[in-house]
Symmetry: none
Subunit: 135 residues, 4 copies
């Protein structure tokens, strides 16, 4: 069964609360197993350019079922996936995107977060993952 | 002052509740005065193709500060704005997008709804507009 | 010899003054013989969606060396150029774009205006054409 | 309150005068807080390919509220934002884009300059920033 809106909103809310607690301004996107957007928010005064990046991080994490930062290790000059970022209308391969995994181990979608350092982006995305509600 | 996330979420929630009450499955998007996305939800089993349409409706309504259906009256064959839809990366000119207007009369952004008949889309968008919270 | 910046700015200024006199809020674009932008202004509170349209009108007028509205007569359903608007990354074929013609009869570029009715857009574009300075 | 056309034109003019004084041929773009173009000029014989770059520099500087060159330090191979340039329809992350900041510290938009070395581009952009008129 697919990711529900209720679940996606739970993920967004958990990430949002973490961002507020950290004092960072984030764009937060959740996509489903088809890599299509289910829920999105942009916090007040968050970087405008991070809107697109948050969605691309979520898509990238689902496209390859791994955290975006892992893909970024492989896309460096000389690496096996050099410049993979130009595919799929644009991938983002630095941290901040993480797959959402169901109880049975299946990937249900992904979260993408952008608006601060990549470490902060990843931390807020982790909070979103942890907040995935059971169906 | 710009549209806040809290206001955008209030608009989305009001539209969402209307859609649930009507038994329709919608994509609901809210953009700010710069026509950039602030909040978005896709209801369970809503048409996937309506995702992009809802965002384009919101953008279109803000781009021209009028309900999308009004623009569509002018873009018909023989009309003064025939095929305006190819501009701005794609406009949607049938009903479902409505500007959000502040107390002072200034356009603060817009809502775009897609997922049912254009009449239903417009009705749900109107409910979203009516739900715009004061700051 | 190509259209100079000074000439393009003269065209923009003449159009701008006409728009102010008419009380309309316009986006005004001027392209050169290569259909590439030379000068652009967006008046305060002009429609945001008219930004792209003004540039597309200028390009369209130069692409076919005729006023955009003339092309629009041919692109209607049943007409010889039906839906030509999808070419070239998007054409605009309603009035508001007019070629700029040099003393020798050669097309030097074009002006595109968008922000009001197509009649007003065309009138402001005509004022821009009339304001083309000699080199 | 948003950036006015008069302010944007003042920024463009200051940058233009600097470019003339330096003997360089520039494309100069100014966007508002929504990252949408307000004013643009291309100097005679300026690189044609710099047209798009100047606009993308201005957008990039506003998207992340920092000079484009600062972002470029982070987007190098092995850096935290490697290949961020594929997002947002294309970013430019070398010098030449700088935010425009209002008296109250709020970002009002940005200037983007392209047509010479990146050092010269940045210098001309700085002149534009210094020329931002009070409202």
């Amino acid at each position: 069964m697919g990711l529900t809106l209720k679940q996606a909103q739970g993920v967004v809310q958990a990430a949002h609360e973490k961002a507020v607690a950290m004092g960072v301004k984030m764009n937060i996107a959740v996509v489903d197993a088809g890599a299509n957007l289910v829920a999105f928010i942009r916090m007040d005064d968050a970087w405008l350019g991070s809107l697109d990046i948050s969605i691309k991080k979520a898509k990238t994490a689902r496209f390859f079922d791994m955290p975006t930062g892992e893909l970024g290790k492989l896309s460096q000059p000389g690496g096996p996936l050099f410049n993979i970022e130009v595919s799929n209308g644009g991938l983002i391969t630095f941290p901040g995107g993480i797959p959402l995994v169901g109880d049975g181990g299946q990937v249900m979608g992904a979260i993408g977060v952008s608006g601060s350092t990549v470490e902060n982006d990843h931390t807020v995305a982790e909070a979103g993952v942890a907040g995935l509600p059971a169906r």
